[in-house]
Structures are given as structure tokens and as C-alpha cells.
């Protein structure tokens, strides 16, 4: 009869109590996993959409551009740079962009707009921009036609085939002015962008701003986003960090990330309260299991078992109860999480409409990450070990003669 078997048998002395304690742990772990899986699935989806709609996984800029986004903070983009970046195995596509503001005018209407000069093919490979076209033609590689976001086109009263006049300030203060035929209209999910974006090919933008061969950013899409740290390090060692900045997506979307962190924190607080309640339940069981066996502890120590070994058996008993509950919780939640991970929930009603309006498919896949499953099981074990302080102290301070007369 090893200590492990003895501990296992001990927990089944009072089956009902053990099952109730394990059931409370099961419920807490099950709920925590479902809530976190749903929350993380939602966040992952939003981040993925943000990455795929514009940002990319990594961006390279001239050093200081991200803090001061002016046309003067551009960098030279040439074949050698493209080759140096694209030679990384994990990179699928790199999109060079020249982004800056100008004044758009037509008839009596004038509006500040954001011009995004980009490589049409590469842009489409990253953001599927072509699929967002509502009318007209997508950008071509060489012409000077532009495509307008729907909201902006509506404000300016422009349609495909009309002409857009742009006036602004270019590289190193040169005047930028030009007439551009509208090739097409597209819809952008973000209302802010939909009301102000003008796409043109990179060459046209460089000509317009007088910034030959210059870009503001190089957006990079990765084959395996989980290896972003590795690729980031490779890129950082490949470029001169005194001249360039290499930023991952979470640094590019700081505000979004902060909002998600706040939401994550609120979710974690709810889960912590849940675990705290369960912790008190476990503690109640520990106190009962300890107090009703004081005499038995006295006998066991009197016949020759060291107190530390007895204390370890008691800890094992509680770990068994904790693991029984926690692993049952994982076993209960895992199939549901896996099912909705591979078969995302189809959203309906107003929520689905909101998703569609933002150009996001109204699907919500549940996250399936070993990290948070393990951390929930670990949380239960930590609570269990914390509650074990009571019986361990009780046993280590046991006065055998007194215990025998309980």
C-alpha cells in the first residue's frame, strides 16, 4: 500500500463530500474554460481581421515614423531591401505603402483624405482589397486611376469615371497636386476609413508626393503567425535598427490591444471570483477532512509514520480531489471548445449585421489553446495547495498523546 494508493482510498471515505467538492471544481473549470475560450476566440478573430485588413503581422518603417507620421519620415524602398526581407522563410508577402494626407476636391466639396499608395497585387494578397470593390475596376500596376472608399465617394459625390482633384504637401515641402480618374468604388469595414481613404498604385502616390522610390511602411504577412517572434528577430538583425524600426502587430495596434487587455482583465476578475468561491468550498472540505481524523493522525504517527510524510499524503488527497474536478472540467469543456473551434458559431441578428457591416464574416470560432487550459488546471492546483496549508500545519504541530484522546 503506497502513499498514493492510501491517499486515493482516503478521499473516497466520504464519497458524497468528495464528489461535491470535485463537482464544484468541475463547474468552475468548465465555466472558466468556456468563457475564456469564447473571449479569446472573439479577440483572436478581431485581431486577425485587423491584421488582414491593413496592418499585417509586422511593419518596417523609417525609425521614428510611427511616432511622427509625416511624409518626410519615409524610407527608400528598392530591390535589395525587398530581397533582404522576402528571403525569410516565414514571410508570405510584403506590401510597400506610401500613406499620407491630402485635400480632395470636386465641385463645391472639399475633404481631407488619406491617400494609400500601394502595390495593387501585393495589397490584394494581404488584404483581399479587390473583394471589397463595389463598382468599377480595381487598381492597375501602372495607371494613375484611383479607387475611393464608398463613404468618401458619397460625400464628394463621385462615381466611377469621374475625376478627383488632390492637393497637398509632398516630400520635403514640395507642392503636390494632381487629377486622378476614379476607377472604382470600394467598401471598407471601418467607418472612419470608409469616409477618408483613397487608394492609388504606389508609383502614382510617389509621383504625387514627389517621393520617388520612397515608402512610409512595408507591411509583412506571415505564413505562421505563431513564429512571429522568430521572424521579428530575424528582421531586426537583417536591417539597420539605427535607421529602421521593425514593429509587430501588437505594437502597431496599441489602443486595440489596450481595450482587449481591459476586457481580458474584467473576464479574469470574474473567473478569479469564481475560483475564490470554489477555493472556500475546497477549504471547507479540507477542514472537515482534517478535524474528523485527528485521532487517526495520532495513531499513524504513534506507530511510526513521520509527520512530514503524513502531511504529504494529505496534500496528495487534496491534489487528487482537485485534479479529479479540474480534469473532468477540461474533459467536459474540451469537446465543446474543439467542436466550435473547427465549426465556428454562426452569429445571428444584430451582432451578425455588425460583423457584416465591418466586413467580417459573422462567425465566432472558440479559441483552442493549450496554454489557458493548462493555466486553469494549474490555478486549481494552486488553490488546492494553498488550502493544504491548514492540514499540513495541523499535522506538523500534532501532539500525539492529545490526538489519541480526541
Amino acid at each position: 500500500m503506497g502513499d498514493i494508493r492510501l491517499a486515493w482510498r482516503n478521499i473516497w471515505r466520504n464519497k458524497r463530500r468528495t464528489l461535491l467538492t470535485a463537482a464544484s471544481i468541475f463547474l468552475a473549470v468548465f465555466l472558466a474554460l468556456m468563457v475564456r475560450s469564447l473571449q479569446m476566440g472573439l479577440f483572436d478573430n478581431l485581431i486577425q481581421v485587423a491584421i488582414e485588413s491593413h496592418t499585417g503581422h509586422i511593419q518596417i518603417h523609417k525609425k521614428g515614423y510611427w511616432d511622427d507620421k509625416t511624409i518626410d519620415n519615409t524610407m527608400l524602398y528598392n530591390d535589395s531591401m525587398e530581397t533582404a526581407v522576402n528571403s525569410r522563410k516565414n514571410i508570405v508577402v510584403t506590401v510597400p505603402r506610401l500613406e499620407y494626407f491630402a485635400l480632395a476636391s470636386t465641385g463645391m466639396q472639399t475633404k481631407g483624405v488619406m491617400i494609400i499608395g500601394t502595390d495593387p497585387l501585393k495589397e490584394n494578397a494581404l488584404t483581399h482589397l479587390k473583394s471589397k470593390m463595389l463598382s468599377g475596376l480595381y487598381l492597375d500596376q501602372s495607371g494613375n486611376g484611383v479607387i475611393l472608399a464608398q463613404g468618401l465617394a458619397g460625400f464628394l459625390g463621385l462615381h466611377t469615371g469621374d475625376t478627383l482633384i488632390l492637393i497637398g504637401q509632398g516630400f520635403h515641402g514640395v507642392s503636390a497636386a494632381g487629377k486622378f480618374p476614379v476607377r472604382g468604388i470600394l467598401h471598407l469595414p471601418s467607418p472612419v476609413l470608409d469616409n477618408q481613404v483613397v487608394y492609388m498604385n504606389l508609383g502614382s502616390a510617389q509621383d504625387f508626393f514627389g517621393a520617388e522610390n520612397r515608402i512610409t511602411s512595408l507591411s509583412i504577412s506571415l505564413k505562421d503567425p505563431d513564429k512571429i517572434d522568430l521572424t521579428l528577430n530575424e528582421l531586426k538583425s537583417a536591417v539597420n535598427l539605427e535607421k529602421f524600426e521593425v514593429m509587430p502587430w501588437d505594437e502597431l495596434m496599441v489602443e486595440v490591444m489596450q481595450q482587449l487587455k481591459v476586457k481580458t482583465a474584467s473576464g479574469m476578475i470574474i473567473i478569479s471570483i469564481l475560483y475564490m468561491i470554489v477555493g472556500f468550498g475546497i477549504f471547507g472540505t479540507v477542514v472537515m477532512m482534517t478535524n474528523e481524523r485527528i485521532k487517526e493522525f495520532g495513531v499513524i504517527v504513534s506507530v511510526g509514520m513521520q509527520k512530514s510524510r503524513l502531511a504529504a499524503i494529505l496534500v496528495l488527497e487534496m491534489v487528487f480531489i482537485g485534479l479529479t474536478g479540474a480534469l473532468s472540467g477540461v474533459a467536459g469543456a474540451l469537446p465543446i471548445m474543439a467542436w466550435y473551434h473547427f465549426n465556428p458559431i454562426h452569429l445571428w441578428g444584430s451582432m451578425a449585421q455588425t460583423y457584416i457591416a465591418y466586413g467580417i464574416e459573422p462567425l465566432l470560432p472558440l479559441a483552442l489553446k493549450p496554454g489557458f487550459i493548462i493555466s486553469n488546471v494549474a490555478a486549481v492546483l494552486v488553490i488546492v495547495l494553498f488550502t493544504c496549508i491548514f492540514p499540513v500545519r495541523r499535522v506538523l504541530r500534532l501532539k500525539v498523546a492529545e490526538a489519541l484522546h480526541k
Binding site: V299, S302, V303, G304, M305, K307, K399
Partner: protein, 228 residues
């Protein structure tokens, strides 16, 4: 040769307020193979004496030497280890571990001693047969009568091959037939295997079987009679 020597042993409770002497300057010794009974009225110090002899409690003053080891000077861990290798206990209310079978209860002590499995199995079977429970080795305590449980407790006490066995009112919770049966077993083990038994008891049947009777009153020895 004495296996236990007690010198000027005292145990005082509430020493700082109103001191109560459970034992007061007791000198006593026990030889190998004794079948000794400690008697006396309630509060005379019988249980305290057994607790001190077993290292379950510490004296206020005095010395207890068992096989030339002064157990009052041992630290907690050393004392537990000393008990494991030298002293067997039989308690009034059996105190078997309820989740273990009779065999496992007996085996438990040997496991603590680190005895190998084949040796444990052999000795467990021998002990269970010697207490007349060879057929009940796989029964849990709840399935055994009080007398049977106490016989398992005796087998458990013997399992570690102790120098002596301390039995605190072993027949108190038994009917007369079971008590008689238990006494016969212990007497036989004492006679045939020279195992030293020290009892505390109120039971006249135990006193009648004992070959030495030590009487305590108010923490002092008032008589120490050996029967030959």
C-alpha cells in the same frame, strides 16, 4: 537484563498555575519477556506512564532509557523513527486505518520500515495466522468484530518486531469472550516468542493473567508485585 529503565520520572500538567502531578518521581524497570500490568484508579497516571514509555508525550523531568537510548533526549523525527523500530502499540479502541484491509493494516508498519514486499507478505500471513485471522486478511476493519479488530491491532503491533508492546486498556471495548481470546493470544505470544507486553488496565481478567502487577496511585508506585 532490563530493556526499559525509568528514573525519577515526573509529568506535571498546568505547571505554571495549579500543578497536577500525573506522575511523581517514578522509578521502574522492565525486563525482556515480561507480561506486566499497570493498574490503578482513574487519574492515577496509567495512561500518562504508557504515553511516556511510548515516546508519545514528553516528561517534565526524569529519564526513560530503552535499550540504552534515552528517549527523552530524542528529537521529534528521531523519536518517531525509534517508535517505529522498537515499540508496538495496541489501543483501547483498536484504531485500525479504516481504508486498509486487515492485511494492509499489518503490512503498513513494515512498509514504513522499508521491508521488502515478499518478506512483508510472509510475515503478515504468519502474524494473521498467529492471531487466528488467517481467513480474514482481505477484510476491511468495518467488516470485522471488535475482538477481531483488536487481534489485527495486536498483529500490527507485532509486525515491526518491536522490543516491547504497550497496550492501553486493550480489552476495554471487548465482550468477555473476545477479551479472553485476545488475552490468550497475547499470553501465548509472550510465552512462546518472549515478547514483552506492558498493559494498562482496569480489567481483572488481564490482571489475573499478568505475571507482574504495578499499582499506581496519584502518580506514584504504591505496589509492584511479581507472580511466579
Amino acid at each position: 537484563m532490563n530493556i526499559i529503565e525509568i528514573k525519577n520520572l515526573s509529568k506535571v500538567y498546568d505547571a505554571k498555575t495549579i500543578p497536577v502531578y500525573a506522575l511523581n518521581g517514578v522509578d521502574l524497570s522492565f525486563k525482556q519477556g515480561e507480561f506486566t500490568c499497570i493498574v490503578g484508579p482513574s487519574g492515577s497516571g496509567k495512561t500518562t506512564m504508557l504515553n511516556l514509555l511510548g515516546g508519545l508525550d514528553s516528561p517534565s523531568s526524569g529519564e526513560i532509557r530503552i535499550a540504552n537510548t534515552d528517549i527523552t533526549s530524542l528529537k521529534s523525527r528521531q523519536l518517531i523513527d525509534f517508535r517505529l523500530r522498537n515499540i508496538g502499540f495496541v489501543f483501547q479502541s483498536f484504531n485500525l486505518i479504516p481504508v486498509l484491509t486487515a492485511k494492509e493494516n499489518v503490512e503498513f508498519i513494515m512498509q514504513l520500515q522499508g521491508v521488502k514486499k515478499d518478506q512483508r507478505d510472509k510475515r503478515t500471513l504468519e502474524l494473521m495466522q498467529s492471531v487466528g485471522l488467517g481467513e480474514k486478511i482481505n477484510a476491511r476493519p468495518a467488516k470485522l468484530s471488535g475482538g477481531q479488530q483488536q487481534r489485527v491491532a495486536v498483529a500490527r503491533a507485532l509486525a515491526s518486531k518491536p522490543r516491547f508492546i504497550l497496550a492501553d486498556e486493550p480489552t476495554a471495548n471487548l465482550d468477555s469472550k473476545s477479551a479472553e481470546n485476545l488475552l490468550e493470544i497475547m499470553e501465548k505470544l509472550n510465552r512462546e516468542e518472549n515478547i514483552t507486553f506492558i498493559f494498562s488496565t482496569h480489567d481483572s481478567r488481564v490482571v489475573a493473567k499478568a505475571r507482574r502487577v504495578v499499582t499506581l496511585e496519584d502518580g506514584r508506585i504504591v505496589s509492584d508485585i511479581s507472580k511466579n
